[in-house]
Amino acid sequence: GESVGLHLPTLSVQEGDNSIINCAYSNSASDYFIWYKQESGKGPQFIIDIRSNMDKRQGQRVTVLLNKTVKHLSLQIAATQPGDSAVYFCAENEGPGGYNKLIFGAGTRLAVHP
């Protein structure tokens, strides 16, 4: 992902709506992708991951979609809650045979309004 400096892109949603956070990745050799949630003053918290042999994976209230053709990853959060407000990062590995060095995007801020 590209750096956007201090001005993170922000997605504002109403409580109860569904949220979709998008991420473009650059390395076509990447075979592992992961989403993290980061709250202020905390370390990143794992949400969900997906391997390149899949195009969709579901968790509790979250779904990750992978489109390898256009190198696009998305995180869908169902019935967004105020506690979902945070910065969300996508990350990819360097490719097969690696040791899971992660390359992070710049992040998207999710703001949930009551």
Binding site: G43, P44, Q45, D49, N100, L102
Partner: protein
């Protein structure tokens, strides 16, 4: 403890001083990673340990940065002759083994260089 522990949580020091940051990974985790997060940015890989050895130090920004890991557990990241551009949050993560899996992060050390 149950998670990755980092200390200190905050460190303020004068330019030119040396600092040492500590990471205590999850017990039994053989792989350990250091990342740096500047304000409003994504995470930048610094170094990876497998056991006590560091097969990839490619992310260390200069020779003022070094890290070690002893006993396959605790790791220290040392920054010598600190500069203002070293100000950032330094995050540590660990995984049970080498390979693609979620990295578990600590809450980081916020380093401020005056």
């Amino acid at each position: 403890g149950a998670g990755v522990s980092q200390s200190p949580s905050n460190k303020v020091t004068e330019k030119g001083k040396d600092v040492e940051l500590r990471c205590d990974p999850i017990s039994g985790h053989t792989a350990l990673y250091w990342y740096r997060q500047s304000l409003g940015q994504g995470l930048e890989f610094l170094i990876y340990f497998q056991g006590n050895s560091a097969p990839d130090k490619s992310g260390l920004p200069s020779d003022r940065f070094s890290a070690e890991r002893t006993g396959g557990s605790v790791s220290t990241l040392t920054i010598q002759r600190t500069q203002q551009e070293d100000s950032a949050v330094y995050l540590c993560a660990s995984t049970p083994r080498r390979g693609n899996q979620p990295q578990h992060f600590g809450d980081g050390t916020r380093l401020s260089i005056l």
